[in-house]
């Protein structure tokens, strides 16, 4: 079934088309939700809510960009709304004051490749993780993140910097990322 056929079917609330669309996009979208969620069950709840929005608002899709991108934006917004609704989000980590949180090395999971990277992201505190997901992976600007999370733009910036530092440390310890090679200065080279 082509994407056009799926879209046409979904517009008519056709279950087979919805199933096809869901089957095609749900694995990647669950990966997106999983990065935001506390656990797999929460991620599946977010995915479910997100796809219900997708199917009920499919008529708003204008064919102006990739369908996956449109679905992905709905998923991200659903995840953020879900985190906001959950009181634990504000209780667990105040996004403005998460600076002092450390990560125990034994908490770093040992999962391979992409899974390992995602698991390392999920080790981060919730506030850090959310900003990092939105900025580095989803491509939102700090201004947009500030509006989405009800925080200052500068807060988003500082949180991202800290999250990035923390994640880099983890990835380097796991030997997934390489440390940048030290550049020799001309003076040092001369000596």
């Amino acid at each position: 079934m082509t994407e056009e056929q799926m879209l046409a079917g979904c517009l008519q609330n056709d279950a087979a088309s919805q199933d096809a669309l869901y089957s095609r996009h749900s694995p990647r979208m669950l990966g997106v939700c999983y990065r935001f969620a506390k656990n797999r069950e929460d991620a599946e709840d977010m995915l479910q809510e997100g796809f219900i929005k997708v199917f009920s608002q499919i008529h708003q899709y204008r064919n102006e960009g990739a369908l996956e991108g449109w679905i992905r934006r709905i998923m991200v917004h659903t995840c953020i709304n879900s985190l906001k609704k959950n009181k634990k989000f504000s209780d667990s980590v105040d996004i403005s004051f998460a600076g002092g949180i450390g990560i125990r090395e034994e908490a770093i999971p040992s999962i391979m490749q992409a899974k390992e990277v995602v698991e390392c992201i999920r080790v981060l505190p919730l506030g850090y993780r959310t900003v990092l997901n939105l900025y580095a992976i989803e491509g939102y600007s700090h201004k947009e993140i500030g509006i989405m999370l009800d925080i200052e733009e500068s807060t988003s910036r500082s949180q991202y910097t800290r999250a990035k530092t923390m994640l880099e440390d983890i990835l380097i310890k796991k030997k997934i990322l390489q440390k940048p090679k030290e550049k020799t200065t001309p003076v040092a080279a001369a000596i």
Partner: protein, 552 residues
């Protein structure tokens, strides 16, 4: 691990890696989406609820009425016939299959005993081959993909478990926990064998928690053979206790050999390829031979996480207390609405509910229930509940009992009178007295709560339950045929009944707990007394429920 990325292209690295990441959702997600998008097709689940409620009503109905004993006798008769048939068939099956009683923990216990006594040279052997699969997602525990495990003590304290490859799956999982290891083996009359003194077949093996280690084994092996006694050299790989003899002597009697042993040498080179430590305490860490094994194991662990969390956050306990006011309504039994001129000369055809002087009294309900968040707006619940109901009839007590009668229905639904003596008069007497019709009930409420409105702090629910009820004790005063006297008689009490509960309540969240308060209505569906008695009594409770809920 070599990486083409470095910190300078950190964002690109994250995007690339996370884009590669996919997870496959469970079927439940699609079903929920489908139900949301196509509400008209939800009928199967609704019809299931209706079937459930009807079944409960049917059970209540079957336990009500004059034919109760006859029906019960029939059911018993049928049950005994079925049981007899099943028993026979089991016996037949039992003849054809062996009776292996093999508990792996027994073998482990023997080995452990040998270690503790210090008199033996316990050898734990483990040979791995690549024909099956093993995973372990805790860093300190793993097992080879497939294995021949032989526990070998000296002399009689020996036991060997050989898991050889076959076509079916043997899965054994040891999770962290405090319980001692237990391996249970289900038998199967298939063509498998058990070597040595015991013979039998095994299809499923499960291992319960072992101390603080987590071990997960999945293998395609099926045949287990237990050899008792077994020679030391039978094992493919020998393993000796990791700790010295002193340590072994100090080991707890509950210590498990698996946790204290590691392989040290391989006798058969062919079997040595993926040789791995069976499991160890934190000091005897597992070794994994190849990167592909590790990748497979971690991949398996990633997508096969314990399913126990599925219920987490959706289950909650509720304890509640409901003081209530109990009303009752009396009806003439439909079979006896007009009995004038039918030979029951004492029968008063007046409205029985008007003929008696009665006053509502108090009742009490308390119980525990387990609630499951089926949908975001729908909670299913079931529990255990105690009810006390009381209703007062105003009467007079006479010094001497007088003769009176009550009208009953025969099995052919024809009225007849039985005579009793009673000191209680309905209209005229010496001492005013209040007669307490009371019941003590045990109920199993099953129902659902629907969220009507919700904010962050407060939610409004409406709920309904169906409550199969067993009446543990009752005081019952029956009105006489002529409506002039009350007769104390519990013999016609309906022991089984069904109640329906309806409630609406506000739910407040506090730290860790949720409080519920709201009105409740409970109605008894069947009469307090059975169909033999010519007057039906229906109780109605109007109460105010106070509940407290905690998430599990």
């Amino acid at each position: 691990m070599e990486s083409k990325y470095n910190i300078e292209n950190f964002e690109r690295f994250l995007r690339d890696k996370t884009d590669e990441f996919k997870m496959y959702p469970s079927k439940r997600v699609w079903y929920s989406i489908y139900n949301n998008m196509h509400p008209g097709n939800r009928l199967p689940s609704i019809s299931m609820c209706i079937v459930l409620i009807c079944s409960l009503l049917l059970v209540g109905y079957l336990n009500t009425g004059s034919n109760q004993e006859m029906r019960a006798a029939k059911v018993l008769e049928k049950s005994s016939t079925i049981a007899s048939t099943e028993s026979n068939s089991r016996n037949i099956t039992g003849v054809s299959m062996a009776s292996p009683v093999c508990f792996y923990n027994a073998a482990l216990a023997q080995t452990s005993t040998a270690v503790n006594n210090g008199s033996a040279d316990p050898v734990y052997a483990a040979t791995a081959n690549r024909s099956a699969h093993v995973f372990g997602h805790h860093s300190n525990a793993s097992l080879p993909r497939s294995q021949n495990i032989a526990g070998n003590g000296s002399g009689e304290n020996t036991a060997a478990v050989d898991i050889s490859t076959s076509t079916q799956t043997l899965a054994a999982v040891i999770e962290a926990g405090a319980q001692p290891p237990i391996i249970t083996v289900n038998t199967n009359p298939a063509s498998q064998f058990l070597a040595g003194t015991d013979q039998g077949t095994f299809q499923d093996v499960s291992i319960n928690p072992v101390n603080n280690n987590s071990i997960a084994i999945a293998t395609t092996s099926k045949n287990l053979s237990v050899q008792q006694p077994a020679a030391k050299d039978q094992a493919g790989i020998k393993a000796v206790p990791e700790a010295d003899a002193k340590t072994q002597e100090n080991a707890s009697n509950e210590a498990v050999a698996v946790n204290t042993l590691k392989p040290v040498e391989t006798q058969q080179a062919d079997n040595a390829a993926p040789s791995e430590t069976v499991a160890g305490q934190s000091t005897s860490a597992a070794t994994i031979t190849t990167a592909s094994d590790k990748a497979w194991i971690e991949n398996y662990a990633m997508y096969n996480r314990p399913a126990t969390k599925k219920w987490a956050g959706k289950l909650s306990w509720q304890a509640y207390l409901t003081p209530s006011v109990v009303y009752r309504k009396l009806y003439n039994n439909t079979a006896n609405k007009d009995l004038s001129g039918n030979g029951t000369g004492n029968f008063n055809n007046a409205n029985v509910d008007v003929a008696v002087t009665q006053k509502p009294s108090f009742g009490l309900e308390t119980g525990l229930s387990l609630q499951y968040d089926f949908l975001k707006i729908l909670k299913l619940k079931a529990g255990l509940q105690l009810n006390y109901t009381r209703y007062n009839a105003q009467a007079y007590e006479n010094q001497h009992p007088i003769a009176s009668s009550i009208t009953l229905n025969s099995e052919e639904n024809l009225p007849y009178e039985v005579f009793r003596t009673t000191p209680y008069s309905n209209n005229i007497g010496l001492n005013p007295v209040s007669l307490h019709n009371e019941t003590y009930q045990l109920s199993l409420p099953v129902g659902a709560d629907l969220k009507l409105f919700s904010t962050d702090l407060i939610s409004w629910y409406a709920g309904a339950t169906i409550q199969p009820t067993f009446v543990m004790y009752a005081n019952s005063y029956l009105i006489s045929s002529d409506r002039r006297n009350y007769i104390k008689d519990r013999s016609m009490l309906n022991r089984f009944n069904v109640n329906a509960g309806f409630e609406t309540y506000l739910s407040f969240k506090t730290s860790g707990y949720t409080w519920q308060v709201g009105p409740q209505f409970r109605s008894q569906i069947f009469s307090t007394n059975n169909k033999i008695y010519s007057v039906e009594e229906r109780l109605m409770n109007f109460g105010f429920k106070i509940g407290i809920t905690k998430k599990l």
